[in-house]
Symmetry: D2
Subunit: 141 residues, 4 copies
């Protein structure tokens, strides 16, 4: 069973939706990035804006997949949950779900990699991020 | 070897890029949707705006995966190519690549399903779209 | 002096920012629309998603101006405030500010008009919205 | 009478539109930024991506107003036109219109200012940009 390490709520807004009245899928990926941001800052205690700004550490996606299971409409409240499925030296595998009372709306598998924003090359996680990720991963297991 | 059925160019713009100076990945999915739109209208001869507007036929994604292989920067010209990998009665599997002179930047696998925009339920492709998809698929093989 | 009728906080996110490291201005307008949404639902007690969804009442902008006074960076917390500057039978003038500790970042003047989403023509505010707007406007003065 | 210095076409896409079936106004501002980009690169011969990337010259908006005159729907083709209304040492006033066969959809007044992306402070236009802007402005008058 998936052990979630972070959770937040997000309202489906007018601007997320398309002429079909449902979420335009690129907007789900904007939500996904915001979820990871909030997890870093609030959950892991590593300020995301500091990390990608002054510290020049990147966290780009190298692989991402999404299963769109049910439509989401304007006004829906999504419960967004995140779990670690793999923790490497410089890469991080995540399982994410956006849920609503009728069940899962979308599930994602995402692989992020830690990079230098000077070179865009992979590098090991900085020590504080590594420690926070290990702690989250241990608590999970 | 992949047999492409449609191709277009897209410039990576300022607004596609993030503070790291590279494409923010949700923008790649906006590009992907625009590519499918242009393929329908220009390649298949089935006007996408008519289809999703007055004809009330939806084409939502049910599954989508992306491999981010190289970064893209503002000013890069992407060659976006699309191939059919599976054609069902109401579903369509696509392989897509965004390429640049240094190689593939992102590749996608996408499964679209034909729906009614009244019910958001799957339905067979309308006859004109089905015929155009079969013709594209035959030419490809 | 401006008398604010609604206020909320919003974090400037990675996805709001451009390669210059500051908010890409179209994102400010996404924030603005979300602010108006929250004001309707939370402040006025008229559910925005219900209004623009099932009730088919539109609230498009007819005029909008923005003064960009200071740059906003990723990680900044914006205090977003909204005041009514004119209340007509079917139109609504708003003054909005996005503030931070160093002062105002952006100010907006926006005129919204109430429309039917069937015809996109102007129509008087529905009774519940009109009453809520009048109450907010009175409290303000 | 307005003397246009640049013009391009843009298709209103599915992803530009909201549940009301019309352009969500923040998307108009994304189009506006892309128009200015294309004008710089194609019209003025000053590569926008080079300017804001390696050359570290910013062109942020300091003031922007928009009049939304007619709705735009998915599939509409917009003719986007741009004129210079004021050329200063470091600031540039533009008049922009997005037109369709039924008339003007949106008109904008925009003031851009030339900045250093190191300091975000105003600076005079670089020589090549200044020369290109003066030439465009003369041709116009």
């Amino acid at each position: 069973m998936t052990r979630w390490v972070f959770e937040r709520q997000e309202l489906v807004r007018f601007g997320h939706c398309d002429p079909a009245g449902i979420v335009f899928y690129p907007r789900y990926f904007e939500m996904l990035n915001a979820l990871v941001e909030d997890w870093f800052t609030q959950g892991l205690g590593v300020d995301y804006a500091q990390l990608l700004g002054p510290r020049r550490v990147g966290m780009p996606s190298v692989r991402l997949s999404a299963d769109f299971k049910r439509v989401s409409r304007m006004g829906d409240q999504l419960t967004q949950r995140l779990a670690i499925n793999k923790l490497g030296r410089s890469s991080l595998g995540l399982t994410i779900q956006f849920d609503a009372p009728d069940g899962c709306r979308v599930s994602f598998e995402q692989v992020l990699v830690c990079t230098s924003l000077e070179t865009h090359r992979a590098q090991p996680f900085p020590a504080d991020l590594r420690a926070a990720l290990e702690q989250a991963n241990d608590k999970q297991e």
